[in-house]
Each structure stands twice: as C-alpha cells, then as structure tokens.
Symmetry: C2
Subunit: 545 residues, 2 copies
Amino acid sequence: MASRTPLTGLAAHAELQGMARTLRGASIEQLFADDPGRAGEFTLEAAGLQLDYSKHLLDREAQAALVALADEAGLGERIPALLDGADINNTENRPALHSLLRASSGGELADKFEEVVAARARMRDYAERLNRGELQGYSGETITDVVNIGIGGSDLGPRLVTEALRPYHGSVNCHYVANVDPADLQDTLQALDPRSTLFIVCSKSFRTEETLTNSLAARDWMLEAGATEADLALHFLAITTNLEAATDFGIATENCLPMWDWVGGRYSVWSAVGLSCAIAVGWERFEQFLAGAEAMDRHFREAPLGANMPVLLSLLEVWYGNFLGAGNHVVLPYDNSLQRLPDFLQQLTMESNGKRVSEDGQALDYSTGPVLWGSAGTMGQHSFHQLLHQGTLLCPADFILPLTSHTGITGSHRRLVANCLAQSRTLMVGRSREAAREALLARGLPEGEAERLAPHLAMPGNRPSSVITMQALTPATLGALLALYEHRTFCSGQLWGINPFDQWGVELGKEIGAEILGRLSGDVGEGKMDPATERLMGVWEQAQG
Amino acid sequence: MASRTPLTGLAAHAELQGMARTLRGASIEQLFADDPGRAGEFTLEAAGLQLDYSKHLLDREAQAALVALADEAGLGERIPALLDGADINNTENRPALHSLLRASSGGELADKFEEVVAARARMRDYAERLNRGELQGYSGETITDVVNIGIGGSDLGPRLVTEALRPYHGSVNCHYVANVDPADLQDTLQALDPRSTLFIVCSKSFRTEETLTNSLAARDWMLEAGATEADLALHFLAITTNLEAATDFGIATENCLPMWDWVGGRYSVWSAVGLSCAIAVGWERFEQFLAGAEAMDRHFREAPLGANMPVLLSLLEVWYGNFLGAGNHVVLPYDNSLQRLPDFLQQLTMESNGKRVSEDGQALDYSTGPVLWGSAGTMGQHSFHQLLHQGTLLCPADFILPLTSHTGITGSHRRLVANCLAQSRTLMVGRSREAAREALLARGLPEGEAERLAPHLAMPGNRPSSVITMQALTPATLGALLALYEHRTFCSGQLWGINPFDQWGVELGKEIGAEILGRLSGDVGEGKMDPATERLMGVWEQAQG
C-alpha cells in the first residue's frame, strides 16, 4: 500500500481543530435546542443494532468534517481492501481475513473459503456429536464437560460468547482456563471428573507458555486418574497450525482443527477457536452468530462513510481522543451476561491500536488507542459512575442495551433499562448549582447548609455517550456487536495510520520473561539485569525458604 | 476543619513542576546508573507487604519535594485526624472510621468500639454455627449455601475477599448477586436448593433498588418452594441500619446485624458486610484479615511521611496525575485469585476521588482521581500490555505479587513470578531501534526487512511501575493490601483537597432513573425529557411488542 498522510497532515484535521475549540465548551442540550432533528437523525441501524449518537459534543458541521476526514484518510478504499483480502497487515505481509470466517460465500477468495467451510464442517461434527452425547472418555463415560485452554484471543472471545449466550446453553458445560497461575486450572478441575472431561487446547503456535503449561498439567491430571497415553486422544482436541507440536503432545492429527496466519488471535472467535461456543450453544446458534457478524460486514462494506456504523464509532473515538483530549473510553453493557465484554474489547482495541509508529515505521506525534474499560450496568453505578459524573476527566461512554430480556422477568429488566437511559441522560444534562441548592432545600435542609452543599451536588453535564440497542441479545446480535467493534477498531487504526493487526510490543516481555525464568530456575547471571530486578529476584529466592 | 490551600497553591507544587519538566524525559535506567543505591532504598516494608518503587520517573530530590508537598498539605495532621475519628467527611458531618472496624482496642472511641465488638461477636456466632452445620432451613436441611445480595461496597469487597481466600474455604459455599439484571440472581439460584440456602441482604438503608429487587425475588423463590412467611426468618439475614424496613420485609430483628453511618459502603468489608467472607473462611481467618489491616493502620499512623507506604503510593499517584499528565492507573495482580481486585479498587478510588470541587465547594482547576483499571497477570500480557509497552499514553502500573503459591505447584508459579518481574523490567528498559534491528537480523531476516520492521519492534521504555510483594496471599496480607489502598486513596483525596468519603455525584442518576422507570411503567409525561431520551423510551416501548 502507498504511504499515507498522518492524521495531523489531513486538511480536515485543521478544520476539526477549530471546531473542537468551540464544541469543547458546548452544551449538548443547547445543541438539541438548536437542531431538534438530531434526536432522530443522529442514529443508525445495521445488522439488528441501533446506534444513537445524538448525545455527543458534535454538531452536523463537525460530523461532516469527521466524515471528510475518513474520506481523506482513504477509508473508502481501505474497507474493501480489508474485506477483499489485501495484505493490510503490512508488517507481517498478510491479509486480515476474520470476515471470511463468517462469510456465506467466498467470492474471489474461493481457495481460502474452501478451507473455512471444511473447518466449519468439522466443528459442526464435534459440536453435534458432543451435544448428542456420542463422545466418550477412556472409561466409556459420556463427555459432559469441555475445558478450553487458551489465553488472550484464544480465551477472551470464546469465554465472552459462551457467557453471553447462556440462555441458549445445551447439556455440555464449557469452562475456560487461561492463567499460568496454577490456581486457575486447579480451581476448574476441582469440580470435574477426568472420565467425562474433554480439553480443547487453543494455541495457534502450540507454543504459548501459559497454554502449554496448563495443557501439560491437564494431561498429568488425566494420566494420574488412570488414563493411558493412548486414551489421551479421547480427551484432547487442539486448535492450532502446528500439527507437529500437537502430535508430540499426544493429540491425534485427526483431533486438530486448523487456524490460519491470516487470522489474528483477537479476531479468531469466528474460527475453530470458537468451538467451545459452538458446543455450548449448538451448531445452529453458532451459525446465527456468524450470520450476525456477516450482516455487519455487509453493512460495513456497503454503507456510505457518513452512515456507516463502525466508521461513525471510530470517528467519535478519534474526535474525543485527538481533538478533545480523552485518554480513555468506557463501555457499559446493561446486561449481566455481557460482563466480560470490556475484557474482550480491551484486547481488541488496546492490542490493535496501542501503537506509537505508523505502518511505515514513523514515530507519531499524536495519541493513538485509548484505555478501554468498563463493567456491566448497573454495577458500575455503585462504583465508578461517581467519577463519570463529577470527576475531572473526559470519559466518553458506550451504553449497550438489549431491549428485552431472556429471563422473562419484565419488572427487573425494566429497572435495568430505566437505569441505562437515566445514566446516559444524567451525564448529558447534569445539574446546576442552583438546582442542587433547591433540591437540598426541598429535603428540608437549612438555607446555610443547602448553600454549602450545593456545589457538591452540582454536576457539570455535557458528558458524551452513545447508546447501542438491540431487540434482544441473541447469537445474531452478539455477532453483529463484536463485528461492529472489530471494524471500529480497524477504522481508528487507519485514521491513526497504524497497523492494527500486529502486536510486536509483546515480544520483548516474553524474551525477558524466559531470561528471568532461567535465572529463577538456577541459571547463573549475577548482576546481568537492572539492579531492581536483581534485587527482586533475590527477594523471591529468599521467600522460597 | 480549616479551609485548605489547593494543590496548585502549595510551595512544593511549583518546585515539583520544574522537576517534572526534567524527569518527564528522563531515563530510569540512567537514574539507576546515577544512584545505584536506589534499588535497595526506594523500598518500604509494612504489615507484611514490601513495596519497591525504584522503577519510577523519580529521583531523590523529587521524592523529597513530594514528601514536602504531603507535609505542606497537612497530611501529618490529617492522618491522625482520620484514625481518631474527627469529622473528616465534612459534607456529611461525620467521621470515616473504617479503621475502628479492625481495631483490637478502642482508645478514645470506647463507645463506638463497644458496638463494633458486639457486632463481631454476633458475626462470629453466625459464622461458627454455619460452619459447624448447626443452622437449618425450613425443612430441617443443613444450610450449605449463602447468597450475599448487595451492590457496590456491599458486593465488591466481600466478593473479592471470598475469592482471594479460596484456599481457606470451609464447607459452606458463598455466592454473590448484585446486578438488577434478573439474570444475575436467576443464574445463581439455578444451582441452589431453597431448603439449604441462606440469604444475606446487605444494604445500609435497606432501600438500594437492586438489592431490594433481588431480595424480593429471592423471597418469592423461597415461598414458591414451599416455605411459609414465618420460615423466612431461617433463610434471611440483613446487614442494615434500617431495622424497620428489614422487619417489614420479613427479617427478624435478631437476624439484623448493624452498619453505622460512620462507615462508607466502599470501606465496609471489615464490618458485618464481610459476614459472608467470615463464613467462607471461618472466624479465625477473618480475624487475621482484620489484624492485617490493623497492622497497616498502625504503620500509616506511625511511619514518617517519607517512609509511609500509603503516603508514598499516593504521592506517586499525584506525581503522575498532576505533574506528568497521566489520566489512568493500572493495577496488575499476578495472582489469579485477585482477579477482582481492579473492580474493587475502581470503586474505592474512583468513587472516593472522582470529584471536581474541593471539600469547601470550590471548583478545582486541576485533575483529581484517574481511571483505575487492570486485570490479573498473566492474562493482560495477551491483551492490553501491547498498549502499555508501545502505546502513546502514560499508564503507571502497580504489580502485585505473592512470592509463594498455595497450590504447591512451584513450576507454574515460578513462571508467574518470572512474567511479573519481566513485565516491570520491560516497561522500564524498552528496546532501541538498533537492538530491534539486530534481533530481527538474528532471526534471519534480510537486511532491508529488518530495517523496515525495526521501528515496530522498538519500545521506548521509561514506563514506570511499582512492585508490591508479600510472602503469600493470606488473610493477613490481603487485609494489609486493602487497607494500603484505602489509605492511599485517602491521602490522594487530601492532596487534592477533596472529601473522599461522600458520593453526591450518584444521586441525580437515581432520581432520573426513578423518573424514567415511572415513564416506562405508564406514567404520562410526553416530551418532558430531552428528545434523545424521549426517543429511546419510545424505542423500548415498541420493542415490548
């Protein structure tokens, strides 16, 4: 690809800087008063999701300038390039084709698509046989529990999807182990029976330290329970590209499902990495999950930039990060089953866009990816919302709200909805000092006390948020939601001029980790590292007694 | 208390601004080279915790100036004022005496202490009878499961402590339900038997919307299973100050344990709100948890400001937030059982210090509480660490590391330790472009490709972190750790001149929530709210079909 202009070099950037100076101090309520149409028109619908972005420090002029920025940055060409399999991951010389994993046809990518379809058929076969109770362990017991061993993208995606789709679960229980801390595996295995447990080892390279350590421990657990080496074939599947290492481990080749180098870990839940989800919810539901994402892919390709949901969300991210000074973004799903969504999005966004050089290797002099954090509502209201409402930081928020609940308990769910809409509204409207004083007087406080406390109850308002709604959290809308954030992340990466598909920044830590592990295991190397690390290694050694 | 000088008005503030200009671009490795003693001397030990703060953008001069800032801000007087029960929560005219809840003697606070001791005796009685299997449900079955219903401070603290002390669990299982989303309670009750389940309803006011909604649903579940109204006394305890409301609910007065208005929700795990923890780990362990916190309280009171662990951590927070421009703080416990620690600390720090006016009600023109986030290591290494290493934001980090593991699996735990120390070291040392180029050549890449990729592998380093270690994660060291962060939060609040003990910012959202709930339940009010909220209420109504 041709070298691109940095964000700050685009003509629309200068224009937006001027607008930001005005809008920084704007009243969003006043923006509604000046432009009553924005309530209905600052909205979008795609793939079963509705986005309301009317409560932002944004008017139509700034919105148009942001869309011009997207256009100038070449998003119009980059989006089809991504979806059509161009080598968009330029530092690793490969495409990023997670969208192909959920496609219903291959188009120009027939060869790759054939492999995808073949893998899907094998996933389906495992999922269906497990759900029919046809798979047995070494003693003839039916497999009832599946433990996914993986970390990062081989954990966060499947874990989120399985939890989020709990109302759709069948009879097989899926568990997730990720941490190299042995307590993670130990706590999980405590409740399980080796005779009826199947492990899915997810590691593209089959070399991930945590996953390998946990898989070896799981293998020992199985052998100690009385399984033979030959029996392991009944209890281990692998999702990997490294068949040789998997075979050495004792996993039969026919029990290995493929990964591809054109799928990044954080985009891999749509591949065989999602097998545990397909087992948990059944194949048909998993196909609906893929179809929901594919519907979002179609929207992403076809909708004009100004009416393109991922593009819009990305422009808001850049608007707040690069023009209004936000360093973070908070995601608030008002659905308890989405409580892992912030964890998933942390990896997706921060691993993708936590970069400081352009895709051409030039150091950037502007901010890229923000810290993404959040929790399921209403929990955060009793925790960090105080800071959202009265803190000194700008924290743009995404509220995510299924409009109906699977529980059938409408009263409680109505409270959830009311709280979600109330938080978004409260952030915007705030409360003046005078209104606070009146509220205090109405509670019967004496004049002087009301006067004294009013500034503490006052809230500045004008704090921006989006609301993303859906009829219900189904496999399809969940798929669309994840694809939405994937594409938003891609677009922001393009606007910043970085490559969102590599993660070179995690390599050095692994190297130094191996070095320190050697030292802790007795390798000589006195004084080789910095004095603080040397001292801490000594502290650890002493603690071993 | 006398009105205080804002942070920016302190003499040390100006001095520190000058130092920040130099240290912002400093090399931490060079600071070690210039001052080899810092490895051993930028450390502190208190209450079983060791803090290493040597890997910071800080030299001895700046450290001394920060301590001078603390002194000038009056921390030397504010600390004893807090611990001795002065009305430090000035907007609510009351003390903040969570330290009394873990005290082994009452000193001048004999009256309050007597109540604390009485409540402890009652907690002990419940915990011991449950653990001996002496409490039965309506059909005579032994109580085996306890469900804590609470939200915010009535949930995050007990949930964290129970999870963190899993190796100490006895035979009673403790569960936690917080969210008003009915799925939270439903998912929990699915696996439980009403005949052997006890609910603990935690709500100071007994009016918390989520807690009341869930408690009523739990009550229905019990009645539907065949319990009579009179049987409820066997299945419900309350932790509350509102005996009347608890009685109306059907909870016998003798089943109500007290709360006090001088304990904030987010500081309440040491009170009867911690009853579920005491049940989970047994009374003796709970006392050790209290004693660990008390040891930290003693250190906090007695250590000089420059050798005071909570003060030092707070000064680092202010240093990065107000002098070096950080808007966030990341906490990385390298222990899987502490995975809820960031959630707990989010409430503690962001609800306490997410304020924009001084305790006297003056608007502040500087930053207060940052966003606190994080996750258990090594999980984050496969997720957001990319941004920590190569992103454009300053994210000061706390690594928390128990030096030994309860699991007895030393090999895996050694890997955990190695990873923790490696991440802290990597953040500091980084990797130059030249070193990156050499590493790529060593992998066999051609010259041109190594040259092209080197900037992507290069890491700036100089990213600061603290390391907090402990021999093992025990009830005592966990108590000390939580008390450490409580006091750090207090100190930062004092340096910013705010009241960290109120949370007026969450009130308006509750009021507007009630208003919207009314609208969703059929109250008339067309057009009363902003157009976006009106539209979204309509969308919700349509979705109900």
